[in-house]
Amino acid sequence: MNGLGWAELAGLWGHFMLLSVLAVGGAITTAPDMQRYLVGQHGWMTDAQFTAGVAIAQAAPGPNILFVAVMGWHVAGVAGVLATMAGILGPSSLLAFAVGRYGRRRADAIGLRAFTAGFAPLTLGLLLSTGWVLTAPVRAEWAAVLLVLGTVVMSVRTRVSPMWLIAAGAVVGALAL
Protein backbone atom coordinates (compact mmCIF):
# COMPACT_ATOMS: atom_id res chain seq x y z
CA MET A 1 0.00 0.00 0.00
CA ASN A 2 0.97 3.62 -0.60
CA GLY A 3 3.53 2.21 -2.99
CA LEU A 4 2.38 4.22 -6.00
CA GLY A 5 4.13 7.34 -7.24
CA TRP A 6 2.35 10.48 -8.42
CA ALA A 7 2.50 9.41 -12.07
CA GLU A 8 0.84 6.08 -11.32
CA LEU A 9 -1.82 7.74 -9.15
CA ALA A 10 -2.54 10.21 -11.95
CA GLY A 11 -2.83 7.29 -14.38
CA LEU A 12 -5.24 5.53 -12.00
CA TRP A 13 -7.32 8.70 -11.69
CA GLY A 14 -7.36 9.20 -15.45
CA HIS A 15 -8.39 5.64 -16.21
CA PHE A 16 -11.27 5.81 -13.72
CA MET A 17 -12.37 9.15 -15.21
CA LEU A 18 -12.59 7.43 -18.59
CA LEU A 19 -14.63 4.60 -17.07
CA SER A 20 -16.92 7.17 -15.40
CA VAL A 21 -18.01 8.44 -18.82
CA LEU A 22 -18.37 4.88 -20.16
CA ALA A 23 -20.47 3.64 -17.21
CA VAL A 24 -23.74 3.97 -19.11
CA GLY A 25 -25.29 0.89 -17.49
CA GLY A 26 -24.05 1.76 -14.00
CA ALA A 27 -20.57 1.61 -12.48
CA ILE A 28 -20.58 -2.17 -12.03
CA THR A 29 -20.55 -2.62 -15.82
CA THR A 30 -17.03 -1.16 -15.83
CA ALA A 31 -15.73 -3.80 -13.38
CA PRO A 32 -14.30 -6.03 -16.16
CA ASP A 33 -12.17 -3.15 -17.39
CA MET A 34 -11.09 -2.24 -13.83
CA GLN A 35 -10.00 -5.85 -13.37
CA ARG A 36 -8.15 -5.78 -16.70
CA TYR A 37 -6.37 -2.56 -15.66
CA LEU A 38 -5.64 -3.28 -11.97
CA VAL A 39 -5.00 -7.04 -12.06
CA GLY A 40 -3.97 -7.82 -15.62
CA GLN A 41 -2.11 -4.76 -16.83
CA HIS A 42 -0.49 -3.46 -13.62
CA GLY A 43 -0.58 -6.42 -11.24
CA TRP A 44 -1.55 -4.10 -8.35
CA MET A 45 -3.94 -6.66 -6.90
CA THR A 46 -4.88 -10.31 -7.36
CA ASP A 47 -8.06 -11.81 -8.82
CA ALA A 48 -9.02 -12.94 -5.31
CA GLN A 49 -8.56 -9.45 -3.84
CA PHE A 50 -10.57 -7.92 -6.67
CA THR A 51 -13.54 -10.25 -6.24
CA ALA A 52 -13.34 -9.93 -2.44
CA GLY A 53 -13.50 -6.14 -2.84
CA VAL A 54 -16.74 -6.33 -4.82
CA ALA A 55 -18.16 -8.84 -2.32
CA ILE A 56 -17.29 -6.59 0.65
CA ALA A 57 -18.98 -3.59 -0.97
CA GLN A 58 -22.09 -5.65 -1.76
CA ALA A 59 -22.30 -6.91 1.81
CA ALA A 60 -22.09 -3.38 3.24
CA PRO A 61 -24.89 -0.79 3.18
CA GLY A 62 -24.72 2.08 0.73
CA PRO A 63 -24.38 2.66 -3.00
CA ASN A 64 -22.69 -0.22 -4.87
CA ILE A 65 -20.23 2.29 -6.36
CA LEU A 66 -18.22 1.99 -3.13
CA PHE A 67 -16.55 -1.17 -4.46
CA VAL A 68 -14.41 1.33 -6.34
CA ALA A 69 -13.19 2.76 -3.03
CA VAL A 70 -12.14 -0.72 -1.88
CA MET A 71 -10.12 -1.14 -5.10
CA GLY A 72 -8.41 2.19 -4.47
CA TRP A 73 -7.68 1.24 -0.86
CA HIS A 74 -6.07 -2.06 -1.87
CA VAL A 75 -3.92 -0.38 -4.51
CA ALA A 76 -2.70 2.74 -2.68
CA GLY A 77 -4.49 3.36 0.64
CA VAL A 78 -6.13 6.76 1.18
CA ALA A 79 -4.49 8.24 -1.94
CA GLY A 80 -5.87 5.33 -3.96
CA VAL A 81 -9.39 5.88 -2.57
CA LEU A 82 -9.25 9.56 -3.52
CA ALA A 83 -7.88 8.82 -7.00
CA THR A 84 -10.40 6.09 -7.89
CA MET A 85 -13.46 7.75 -6.32
CA ALA A 86 -12.69 11.22 -7.75
CA GLY A 87 -12.14 9.55 -11.11
CA ILE A 88 -15.26 7.39 -11.24
CA LEU A 89 -17.56 10.09 -9.79
CA GLY A 90 -16.11 13.30 -11.26
CA PRO A 91 -17.09 13.34 -14.94
CA SER A 92 -20.45 11.58 -14.52
CA SER A 93 -21.43 13.87 -11.62
CA LEU A 94 -20.54 17.05 -13.51
CA LEU A 95 -22.54 15.76 -16.47
CA ALA A 96 -25.53 14.98 -14.22
CA PHE A 97 -25.29 18.45 -12.69
CA ALA A 98 -25.18 20.13 -16.12
CA VAL A 99 -27.98 18.01 -17.61
CA GLY A 100 -30.15 18.49 -14.52
CA ARG A 101 -29.84 22.25 -14.89
CA TYR A 102 -29.74 22.83 -18.63
CA GLY A 103 -30.79 19.53 -20.22
CA ARG A 104 -34.44 20.42 -20.66
CA ARG A 105 -33.61 22.96 -23.33
CA ARG A 106 -32.08 20.33 -25.62
CA ALA A 107 -35.08 18.09 -26.05
CA ASP A 108 -34.56 15.55 -28.83
CA ALA A 109 -36.78 12.59 -28.15
CA ILE A 110 -35.63 10.30 -30.95
CA GLY A 111 -31.95 10.75 -30.13
CA LEU A 112 -32.56 9.92 -26.48
CA ARG A 113 -34.70 6.89 -27.32
CA ALA A 114 -32.18 5.58 -29.86
CA PHE A 115 -29.39 6.02 -27.31
CA THR A 116 -31.15 4.15 -24.48
CA ALA A 117 -32.35 1.41 -26.85
CA GLY A 118 -28.95 1.06 -28.49
CA PHE A 119 -27.05 0.79 -25.23
CA ALA A 120 -29.48 -1.56 -23.44
CA PRO A 121 -28.12 -4.82 -24.96
CA LEU A 122 -24.57 -3.61 -24.31
CA THR A 123 -25.40 -3.20 -20.63
CA LEU A 124 -26.63 -6.81 -20.49
CA GLY A 125 -23.42 -8.06 -22.09
CA LEU A 126 -21.30 -6.02 -19.69
CA LEU A 127 -23.24 -7.30 -16.65
CA LEU A 128 -22.61 -10.87 -17.81
CA SER A 129 -18.93 -10.00 -18.31
CA THR A 130 -18.77 -8.64 -14.75
CA GLY A 131 -20.30 -11.84 -13.37
CA TRP A 132 -17.83 -13.92 -15.39
CA VAL A 133 -14.77 -11.89 -14.36
CA LEU A 134 -15.75 -12.04 -10.68
CA THR A 135 -15.79 -15.85 -10.79
CA ALA A 136 -12.12 -15.93 -11.85
CA PRO A 137 -10.69 -16.89 -8.41
CA VAL A 138 -13.16 -19.74 -7.81
CA ARG A 139 -14.01 -21.05 -11.29
CA ALA A 140 -12.12 -24.32 -10.72
CA GLU A 141 -14.07 -25.30 -7.60
CA TRP A 142 -17.36 -27.11 -8.07
CA ALA A 143 -18.82 -25.81 -4.78
CA ALA A 144 -18.29 -22.24 -5.94
CA VAL A 145 -19.75 -22.93 -9.38
CA LEU A 146 -22.86 -24.37 -7.68
CA LEU A 147 -23.01 -21.27 -5.48
CA VAL A 148 -22.92 -18.96 -8.53
CA LEU A 149 -25.60 -20.93 -10.39
CA GLY A 150 -27.74 -21.29 -7.25
CA THR A 151 -27.56 -17.53 -6.70
CA VAL A 152 -28.68 -16.84 -10.27
CA VAL A 153 -31.66 -19.20 -9.90
CA MET A 154 -32.67 -17.88 -6.46
CA SER A 155 -32.33 -14.29 -7.56
CA VAL A 156 -34.34 -14.75 -10.76
CA ARG A 157 -37.03 -17.06 -9.34
CA THR A 158 -37.58 -15.67 -5.83
CA ARG A 159 -37.74 -12.29 -4.08
CA VAL A 160 -35.23 -13.19 -1.39
CA SER A 161 -33.04 -10.20 -0.39
CA PRO A 162 -29.48 -10.16 -1.80
CA MET A 163 -28.29 -9.68 1.78
CA TRP A 164 -29.40 -13.20 2.72
CA LEU A 165 -27.82 -14.72 -0.36
CA ILE A 166 -24.50 -13.06 0.46
CA ALA A 167 -24.77 -14.29 4.06
CA ALA A 168 -25.45 -17.81 2.78
CA GLY A 169 -22.45 -17.49 0.48
CA ALA A 170 -20.25 -16.53 3.45
CA VAL A 171 -21.37 -19.60 5.42
CA VAL A 172 -20.94 -22.01 2.49
CA GLY A 173 -17.57 -20.43 1.68
CA ALA A 174 -16.27 -20.64 5.26
CA LEU A 175 -17.16 -24.34 5.37
CA ALA A 176 -16.31 -25.52 1.87
CA LEU A 177 -14.09 -23.09 -0.06
Binding site: Q58, G62, L127, P162, L165
Partner: protein
Amino acid sequence: MAARRAAVPAPDLAPGQAPDAAPETAPDATLRHPAGCGELFRIFNRLALQGFGGVLPVAHRELVERTRWLSPQQFVELLTLGQVLPGPNIINMAIVLGDRFFGWRGALAACAGLLLAPLFIVLGLAIAYQQLADNPAVAGALRGMGAVAAGLIAATAVKLAPTLRDNPLGLPTGAAVGLAAFVLVGLLRWPMVWVVLGLGGLGTALAWRRIRLAETLEGRQR
Protein backbone atom coordinates in the same frame (compact mmCIF):
# COMPACT_ATOMS: atom_id res chain seq x y z
CA MET B 1 -22.50 11.38 -24.90
CA ALA B 2 -26.17 11.41 -25.86
CA ALA B 3 -27.03 12.40 -22.31
CA ARG B 4 -26.52 15.95 -23.55
CA ARG B 5 -29.85 15.76 -25.26
CA ALA B 6 -31.76 14.26 -22.36
CA ALA B 7 -35.40 15.05 -22.91
CA VAL B 8 -36.77 13.80 -19.64
CA PRO B 9 -39.21 16.38 -18.28
CA ALA B 10 -38.12 17.53 -14.85
CA PRO B 11 -40.29 18.28 -11.85
CA ASP B 12 -41.30 21.92 -11.64
CA LEU B 13 -38.94 22.90 -8.90
CA ALA B 14 -36.61 25.79 -9.62
CA PRO B 15 -33.04 25.48 -8.32
CA GLY B 16 -32.66 27.28 -5.02
CA GLN B 17 -36.38 27.76 -4.60
CA ALA B 18 -37.15 29.04 -1.11
CA PRO B 19 -38.49 26.23 1.09
CA ASP B 20 -41.28 28.36 2.57
CA ALA B 21 -42.58 29.16 -0.93
CA ALA B 22 -43.06 25.46 -1.65
CA PRO B 23 -46.68 24.87 -0.64
CA GLU B 24 -47.97 27.49 -3.12
CA THR B 25 -45.75 26.65 -6.07
CA ALA B 26 -45.38 22.87 -5.85
CA PRO B 27 -47.46 21.06 -8.51
CA ASP B 28 -48.84 18.74 -5.85
CA ALA B 29 -49.90 20.49 -2.66
CA THR B 30 -48.92 17.50 -0.50
CA LEU B 31 -45.26 17.64 -1.57
CA ARG B 32 -42.70 19.02 0.86
CA HIS B 33 -39.34 20.75 0.59
CA PRO B 34 -36.35 19.86 2.75
CA ALA B 35 -35.63 22.54 5.35
CA GLY B 36 -32.00 22.88 4.33
CA CYS B 37 -28.80 21.15 3.24
CA GLY B 38 -28.57 19.52 6.66
CA GLU B 39 -31.88 17.74 6.14
CA LEU B 40 -30.84 16.69 2.62
CA PHE B 41 -27.65 15.18 4.06
CA ARG B 42 -29.54 13.45 6.88
CA ILE B 43 -32.21 11.86 4.67
CA PHE B 44 -29.74 10.68 2.00
CA ASN B 45 -27.50 9.34 4.75
CA ARG B 46 -30.46 7.46 6.25
CA LEU B 47 -31.46 5.91 2.94
CA ALA B 48 -27.86 4.93 2.09
CA LEU B 49 -27.42 3.13 5.41
CA GLN B 50 -30.60 1.11 4.83
CA GLY B 51 -29.57 0.06 1.33
CA PHE B 52 -28.08 -3.41 1.42
CA GLY B 53 -27.44 -4.72 -2.09
CA GLY B 54 -28.78 -1.60 -3.76
CA VAL B 55 -30.19 1.72 -2.63
CA LEU B 56 -32.92 2.35 -5.23
CA PRO B 57 -35.85 0.55 -3.53
CA VAL B 58 -35.06 2.41 -0.31
CA ALA B 59 -34.77 5.68 -2.23
CA HIS B 60 -38.35 5.32 -3.44
CA ARG B 61 -39.63 4.72 0.08
CA GLU B 62 -37.71 7.65 1.57
CA LEU B 63 -38.10 10.30 -1.13
CA VAL B 64 -41.68 9.53 -2.21
CA GLU B 65 -43.43 7.93 0.75
CA ARG B 66 -41.70 9.22 3.87
CA THR B 67 -40.40 12.72 3.09
CA ARG B 68 -42.77 13.40 0.15
CA TRP B 69 -40.10 15.45 -1.60
CA LEU B 70 -41.13 13.84 -4.89
CA SER B 71 -44.38 12.57 -6.39
CA PRO B 72 -44.22 9.00 -7.78
CA GLN B 73 -44.23 10.48 -11.30
CA GLN B 74 -41.36 12.86 -10.47
CA PHE B 75 -39.43 9.94 -8.99
CA VAL B 76 -39.75 7.92 -12.19
CA GLU B 77 -38.68 10.93 -14.26
CA LEU B 78 -35.67 11.49 -12.03
CA LEU B 79 -34.78 7.78 -12.16
CA THR B 80 -34.98 7.78 -15.97
CA LEU B 81 -32.65 10.76 -16.08
CA GLY B 82 -30.25 9.01 -13.67
CA GLN B 83 -30.26 5.88 -15.80
CA VAL B 84 -29.65 7.62 -19.11
CA LEU B 85 -26.65 9.47 -17.72
CA PRO B 86 -23.42 7.52 -17.20
CA GLY B 87 -22.43 6.79 -13.61
CA PRO B 88 -24.33 5.45 -10.60
CA ASN B 89 -28.10 6.15 -10.90
CA ILE B 90 -28.60 7.02 -7.26
CA ILE B 91 -25.69 9.49 -7.19
CA ASN B 92 -26.94 11.17 -10.36
CA MET B 93 -30.41 11.42 -8.82
CA ALA B 94 -29.01 12.90 -5.60
CA ILE B 95 -27.06 15.52 -7.57
CA VAL B 96 -30.00 16.60 -9.71
CA LEU B 97 -32.44 16.66 -6.78
CA GLY B 98 -30.03 18.40 -4.40
CA ASP B 99 -29.27 21.02 -7.04
CA ARG B 100 -32.96 21.63 -7.65
CA PHE B 101 -33.57 22.32 -3.97
CA PHE B 102 -30.43 24.23 -2.90
CA GLY B 103 -28.12 24.64 -5.90
CA TRP B 104 -24.63 23.12 -5.92
CA ARG B 105 -24.54 23.06 -2.10
CA GLY B 106 -27.60 20.85 -2.11
CA ALA B 107 -26.02 18.54 -4.70
CA LEU B 108 -22.91 18.22 -2.53
CA ALA B 109 -24.92 17.68 0.65
CA ALA B 110 -27.03 14.91 -0.90
CA CYS B 111 -23.97 13.20 -2.38
CA ALA B 112 -22.01 13.42 0.86
CA GLY B 113 -25.00 12.01 2.71
CA LEU B 114 -25.08 9.03 0.37
CA LEU B 115 -21.35 8.31 0.40
CA LEU B 116 -19.63 9.44 3.60
CA ALA B 117 -20.85 7.02 6.28
CA PRO B 118 -21.03 3.99 3.95
CA LEU B 119 -17.50 4.78 2.73
CA PHE B 120 -16.11 4.45 6.24
CA ILE B 121 -18.05 1.23 6.83
CA VAL B 122 -16.79 -0.31 3.59
CA LEU B 123 -13.19 0.72 4.26
CA GLY B 124 -13.46 -0.64 7.81
CA LEU B 125 -14.56 -3.98 6.36
CA ALA B 126 -11.75 -3.88 3.79
CA ILE B 127 -9.17 -3.28 6.54
CA ALA B 128 -10.64 -6.07 8.65
CA TYR B 129 -10.43 -8.35 5.61
CA GLN B 130 -6.76 -7.47 5.08
CA GLN B 131 -6.00 -8.35 8.71
CA LEU B 132 -7.92 -11.62 8.55
CA ALA B 133 -7.24 -12.70 4.96
CA ASP B 134 -4.83 -15.42 6.15
CA ASN B 135 -7.50 -17.04 8.27
CA PRO B 136 -8.79 -19.91 6.09
CA ALA B 137 -12.41 -19.58 7.25
CA VAL B 138 -12.45 -15.83 6.52
CA ALA B 139 -10.77 -16.34 3.14
CA GLY B 140 -13.31 -19.06 2.34
CA ALA B 141 -16.23 -16.87 3.45
CA LEU B 142 -15.03 -14.06 1.19
CA ARG B 143 -14.67 -16.49 -1.73
CA GLY B 144 -18.23 -17.66 -1.13
CA MET B 145 -19.50 -14.07 -0.93
CA GLY B 146 -17.61 -13.29 -4.14
CA ALA B 147 -19.29 -16.23 -5.89
CA VAL B 148 -22.69 -14.94 -4.74
CA ALA B 149 -21.81 -11.40 -5.85
CA ALA B 150 -20.94 -12.77 -9.30
CA GLY B 151 -24.23 -14.67 -9.39
CA LEU B 152 -26.25 -11.60 -8.31
CA ILE B 153 -24.78 -9.47 -11.08
CA ALA B 154 -25.26 -12.18 -13.73
CA ALA B 155 -28.84 -12.60 -12.48
CA THR B 156 -29.49 -8.90 -13.12
CA ALA B 157 -28.58 -9.50 -16.76
CA VAL B 158 -30.88 -12.55 -16.88
CA LYS B 159 -33.76 -10.55 -15.36
CA LEU B 160 -33.30 -7.69 -17.82
CA ALA B 161 -32.99 -9.97 -20.88
CA PRO B 162 -36.78 -10.09 -21.61
CA THR B 163 -36.75 -6.29 -22.08
CA LEU B 164 -34.84 -6.89 -25.34
CA ARG B 165 -38.08 -8.13 -26.87
CA ASP B 166 -39.61 -4.62 -26.58
CA ASN B 167 -36.40 -2.93 -27.70
CA PRO B 168 -36.65 -1.12 -31.07
CA LEU B 169 -33.57 -3.11 -32.13
CA GLY B 170 -35.55 -6.35 -31.98
CA LEU B 171 -34.57 -9.49 -30.10
CA PRO B 172 -32.07 -11.01 -32.62
CA THR B 173 -30.05 -7.82 -33.08
CA GLY B 174 -30.20 -6.97 -29.36
CA ALA B 175 -29.06 -10.45 -28.37
CA ALA B 176 -26.23 -10.30 -30.92
CA VAL B 177 -24.98 -6.95 -29.59
CA GLY B 178 -25.18 -8.16 -25.98
CA LEU B 179 -23.38 -11.40 -26.81
CA ALA B 180 -20.69 -9.52 -28.74
CA ALA B 181 -20.12 -7.25 -25.71
CA PHE B 182 -19.77 -10.31 -23.44
CA VAL B 183 -17.29 -12.04 -25.77
CA LEU B 184 -15.16 -8.93 -26.38
CA VAL B 185 -15.07 -7.54 -22.81
CA GLY B 186 -15.67 -10.63 -20.66
CA LEU B 187 -13.81 -13.35 -22.57
CA LEU B 188 -11.31 -11.60 -24.87
CA ARG B 189 -10.68 -8.78 -22.35
CA TRP B 190 -10.56 -5.96 -24.88
CA PRO B 191 -10.34 -2.44 -23.39
CA MET B 192 -13.89 -1.34 -22.67
CA VAL B 193 -13.62 2.09 -24.29
CA TRP B 194 -13.45 0.70 -27.85
CA VAL B 195 -16.16 -1.88 -27.28
CA VAL B 196 -18.57 0.65 -25.72
CA LEU B 197 -17.96 3.30 -28.35
CA GLY B 198 -18.11 0.77 -31.20
CA LEU B 199 -21.02 -1.45 -30.16
CA GLY B 200 -22.89 1.35 -28.37
CA GLY B 201 -22.55 3.59 -31.39
CA LEU B 202 -23.65 0.81 -33.71
CA GLY B 203 -26.63 -0.04 -31.46
CA THR B 204 -27.68 3.61 -31.26
CA ALA B 205 -27.42 4.06 -35.03
CA LEU B 206 -29.46 0.89 -35.72
CA ALA B 207 -32.08 1.85 -33.13
CA TRP B 208 -32.31 5.34 -34.60
CA ARG B 209 -32.97 3.92 -38.09
CA ARG B 210 -35.61 1.48 -36.86
CA ILE B 211 -37.43 4.09 -34.76
CA ARG B 212 -37.47 6.44 -37.77
CA LEU B 213 -38.74 3.64 -40.01
CA ALA B 214 -41.48 2.66 -37.57
CA GLU B 215 -42.58 6.29 -37.26
CA THR B 216 -42.74 6.78 -41.05
CA LEU B 217 -44.80 3.60 -41.44
CA GLU B 218 -47.14 4.77 -38.70
CA GLY B 219 -47.48 8.13 -40.44
CA ARG B 220 -48.43 6.45 -43.74
CA GLN B 221 -51.06 4.30 -42.11
CA ARG B 222 -52.80 7.32 -40.68
